[in-house]
Symmetry: C2
DNA sequence: TTGACAAAAATCGTATACGATATTATCATT
DNA sequence: AATGATAATATCGTATACGATTTTTGTCAA
């Protein structure tokens, strides 16, 4: 029979941990950490054996990562870890600026004292972070925290995807450079503007913050390409 | 053996028509035309039998549509055609405005005479369009044409996804209203600003154009919900 | 009649198996 | 020796089959 109702409508979207999700999360983390490098072929049999499952959940995980832009498919010829050109980095940062400034604009009026305190704590944690993987993670948490009160879940999900697409390249020049100090100065200036409710100033700072990262990354990639 | 090279790197991303794609395209079209209504359960066996294939390509097609926001999955309980709340419509249009104004801004300096002529022709075609499905299609082609010269493929793909998420609701109040005439006036004003290279004016018009549609749609959905 | 519990049916998620396509290796021919 | 055709191998894409979870149906007691 065809019931026209959704199966009891929503309050139980949680359930057993799907194998597909576990595989996708694992591969995503490895790509972000740079353990799986660009253009590396991802063979389905190989991954299936490694995870101790069949190819089907592996395929679905790979397609999920394709939707996130982390892997590229060649029909009948397999998948590889996606590579980013400098043009794509430019495009991704342009989109991040467009979407994240929107999020921040809508979030600031709803920021609570608790949010601001959490953000402050995250900045302190970033200052003391040791591993670069940790740095990237905390960095993203800080940004996400400021956007969260906007209550725009789809936008957040897409911004997260854009972020992870550039994150694995970002960590490259984070080590040994003074970029971290500059970034933290910008973070604190943004947070201060948020605290005072100065939307336009905060948005301008965020845009400059992202554009600076974009310029560094594009320059790095174009140098490496030559 | 593990070759570290991509399988002959790219020039052949075309191949046999994947069954998964065919199914996804068909279901997407049916959702857009309103033939598959919101919250309708999409059973895998049923679809597999209908298309004469097994469940696996059906599953992959459904997951692709999930990534596009057209279906919602409930683990171990199946998928349904996604429904949009007025809050989600507001969010989608906010994202469209952010991304499409970016695209237009970057596209205008690269617009050619040929582009402008094509756009003009599309407007004429819209004026004479009979079926509403055709109207929606042409409408999107007009917008896409203006953004194309920006050369931002990822952004275009995401804008397309946002568009199809609201398109199926748009057609509802397009019939029998004077919205079409208003929309065409706005289109022609935008096109004229593009022709004269007046970026800020064109962007402002586009934003107003999208916001007007958003307001109408949100009002419609909230009325229907009550 | 109503509620709770249990059995049955339906649907999903995954493993196994097989055919299709692409890539690599072999060999004949110029 | 180089090149083109052909066979062998590897990998992907899909069908079939089965176990797991969920929903529904049926039964019984209060």
């Amino acid at each position: 029979m065809l019931t026209a109702m959704p199966p009891s409508l929503a309050p139980i979207p949680k359930a057993a941990p799907q194998i597909t999700e576990v595989i996708a999360d694992t591969l995503r983390a490895e790509i972000l950490q740079g353990r799986l490098k660009s253009n590396l072929p991802l063979r389905q049999d190989e991954l299936a054996e490694r995870f101790g499952v069949s190819k089907i959940p592996v395929r679905e995980a790979l397609y999920q990562l394709k939707a996130e832009g982390l892997v590229t498919f060649f029909p009948n010829r397999g998948a590889v870890v996606a590579a980013l050109s400098s043009a794509e980095v430019d495009e991704i940062y342009a989109m991040r600026i467009a979407l994240e400034t929107l999020a921040l604009r809508r979030a600031i009026p709803h920021l609570t004292i608790a949010n601001l305190a959490q953000a402050e704590a995250l900045l302190a944690a970033i200052d003391q972070a040791q591993a670069i993987a940790q740095w990237g993670e905390l960095n993203w948490e800080f940004h996400a925290l400021l956007y969260q009160p906007a209550n725009l879940p789809r936008l957040m999900e897409w911004v997260r995807i854009l972020h992870i697409n550039v994150a694995r390249y970002l960590v490259i020049f984070l080590v040994g450079l003074e970029y971290q100090a500059t970034s933290q100065r910008e973070h604190r200036a943004m947070l201060e503007a948020c605290r005072q409710g100065q939307i336009e100033i905060a948005v301008t700072l965020l845009e400059a913050h992202l554009q600076a990262a974009a310029n560094k990354l594009v320059a790095f990639l174009e140098q490496r390409a030559a």
